[in-house]
Symmetry: C2
Subunit: 425 residues, 2 copies
């Protein structure tokens, strides 16, 4: 089937951690690589919450995909949304463009926010998956404070109340960052507003925060958030979200104009268009080598894949799993080209961390080591700077963090009206 | 009329150069200051073109207004759009909020893009007055290149052609920055696209660029832009703009999907709502002390004012005139409060500069000194860093400029879809 005069074509869907890793590891391989993404930039997802809370600007955690691969002679990028696969013709189908033929396909399209069908979430709550969402959330919070400053009666209506739904790492770091913003900077920005009435509520359905962590670290996160001033509601669920209220399972209604939905994610909708077996969270069932049963030239990595460890547990939906998966799949494609059998993917847990707020984080390692507080926070900062892509961005984020640490300033508190393209004229 | 138990209230409309200067100079004065702006941030307008061309990010040239005046005890900010003045009741009328009473009013609302009634400009051309416009222009250019990369036939349709209308300082710097982006970085970002077909056209109705400058500097700017690769059309006017074409007076039609309108500005529409005498460009006619005839407690500064030098020439619409006007008006208000007569405002020309592109600028001073080329460019860089507000922004812009100078990289080439708030879920 393959023409001998041309190199095998590897098409990768998604410019997240996994997709980029595949490109990097195929740099010297005898293949033509095409990376496809609906956006022209990679987002460093772990720091997106800092864009949403005005501590960083979007450009600091985003990187032009084309810029990342200057000098890669076998690389091409196509900005397009993947909509499906023509398995027989071996072509990736995209929105607004010709289908892209492949010999090997890597699906790394990631996950999207899962509203679990709760009414009003899609219309009124903010997810945290894209730069646009982060800027919209930041602008929305700033706007509520300006409204309350102009008309304090709006405080009663929830202008200064933020409800964060979901007590996993994303919810915990969002709640911690927002409450710090409200306690430290907002009173200085709004000296004539009673900012002490601003309020952050974290709602979690289980009886504990940070489910994957050790119980002592879960307790540490809970105590730390409460000490910061977050109202943590455990064993509580959200049943409905409106423009200015959150309805809880207990019947209580919290007046809040800002809702951050960090309760979960599900596989990219692309998965449903493929005609392949899906499992939990809409993720694609894969073979031990991460290829798709029945489509051995197609691999799935990262949040989109339902990969299993040899002990039967699922691969976690973390950056590390995507990075390791990307490296693994780049290697398997090269083995296949050389006629060698593929190898199973074994996820190696390098440890897990979650930040809670200023000088507070938790970290645990497979050997049993556990850390919390200032030392864990320094580790978190250091590792995120290391993993952040691009020297320019590292320098800039480092500068912002040092600045922020000493001044409590948030240099990105720009209210951008996403719908106001032009000034009136 | 004034209650003896309270301080005089000074209300300032507009957080541009002039408005901020008034606040600063009234810091220690026995007045209550309220600054009103529809946006929550000050924009350093002279560098907005660098946001539009991906060299800087929006946060680097914008500054939270509230953040600027931490520690000012007599300061309040109201985010609202001023819509008119109730002269009898001495109240500023705003959109979405109660009227704001004043004893002294300073109108510093600036200017907006003037399309001179040319058909299609409001719908299809990009102005350059707000952060939103700059981000939209940057994203639009990036999108055109991605489209042409996916489908090279779109080059014929003007995907890679940019027409800049207006040969003043804004048009010249825009054309220079865009052509550098196209020549230096785009070929590396799009190795499979024939970027040599990208094209920048500058259209100017007069027979020369940079009208306020000396003839030798005008010639220098023209020669430099042409050397950079900009097609400069003098003595030519635009009669109509559509989504993919610019119609010229000569009858020629340029296929271009991107049009930047830098042909002129007019006073903020607020001026028309005041019932006062307007002059050229809709600017407000003022007394020699910059107060409004018939409303001596109201002053106008910056682009909104039609101020005259003693020799009868108009004050230029430049940052310097706004800054000097702001300082002047803050002083006059204090004189009025003390019962002293006001003084006339005399604009002092500190010299004028315009940048053309990398290592190229022109500068002239009232004493007759003229500079062009690398030295003028260094002066331009230095002065813009000095005038840029905020140490954090200065550091960051300096870092970006050094980075850009040596790498030609543009760290802000993020295609942000202003209408795509959320990822699909």
């Amino acid at each position: 089937m393959q023409d001998n005069n041309r190199l095998p074509r590897v098409v990768i869907v998604g410019a997240g951690f996994g997709g980029l890793k595949v490109v990097q590891h195929l740099r010297r391989a005898p293949v033509e690589v095409t990376l496809v993404d609906a956006r022209n930039h990679h987002i460093f997802q772990p720091l997106l919450y800092q864009v949403a809370t005005a501590a960083l600007n979007a450009e600091e955690i985003a990187q032009s995909v084309r810029g990342l691969f200057h000098g890669y002679r076998n690389f091409d990028f196509r900005m397009a949304r993947a909509t499906g696969v023509d398995w027989v013709g071996k072509r990736l189908l995209v929105d607004g463009g010709a289908p892209i033929p492949f010999d090997y396909l890597v699906l790394a399209a990631g996950a999207v926010t899962n509203d679990f069908g709760v009414e009003g979430v899609a219309q009124h709550a903010f997810g945290l998956k894209s730069v646009e969402e982060a800027i919209a959330l930041r602008s929305h919070i700033l706007k509520q404070f300006e409204c309350a400053n102009n008309d304090p009666a709006q405080i009663e209506q929830g202008a200064l109340t933020v409800v964060v739904v979901g007590g996993g790492p994303t919810g915990v770091e969002m709640a911690g960052a927002i409450v710090e913003w409200f306690k430290r900077l907002m009173p200085r920005d709004f000296p004539r507003l009673d900012v002490s009435r601003a309020h952050v509520v974290l709602v979690e359905a289980m009886d504990r925060l940070l489910a994957p962590f050790d119980a002592s670290l879960q307790q540490n996160a809970l105590d730390t958030l409460r000490r910061f001033g977050v109202e943590v509601r455990l064993n509580e669920a959200v049943t409905r979200v409106t423009a200015d209220a959150v309805h809880l399972k207990s019947g209580e209604v919290i007046r809040a104009r800002t809702v951050v939905w960090a309760a979960g994610m599900k596989a990219s909708p692309l998965a449903q268009a493929l005609g392949v077996e899906l499992g939990r969270g809409g993720r694609i069932v894969v073979n031990p080598d991460m290829s798709i049963p029945g489509h051995l030239d197609a691999f799935v990595i990262g949040d989109l894949a339902l990969g299993k460890n040899p002990d039967g547990t699922l691969h976690p939906q973390l950056a590390q799993a995507a990075l390791q998966g990307g490296k693994h799949v780049a290697r398997q494609i090269q083995r296949r080209i050389r006629g060698q059998p593929t190898e199973p993917f074994i996820y190696r847990d390098p440890g897990t961390m979650a930040t809670i707020g200023r000088s507070a984080a938790v970290a645990q390692f497979p050997n049993g080591w556990k850390f919390s507080g200032f030392f864990a926070w320094l580790m978190w900062l250091f590792l995120h700077l290391i993993y952040l892509i691009g020297l320019r961005n590292r320098l800039s984020v480092f500068l912002d963090w040092v600045w922020h640490y000493f001044t409590y300033d948030r240099s990105a508190r720009l209210l951008v009206d996403l719908l106001m393209r032009r000034t009136p004229h």
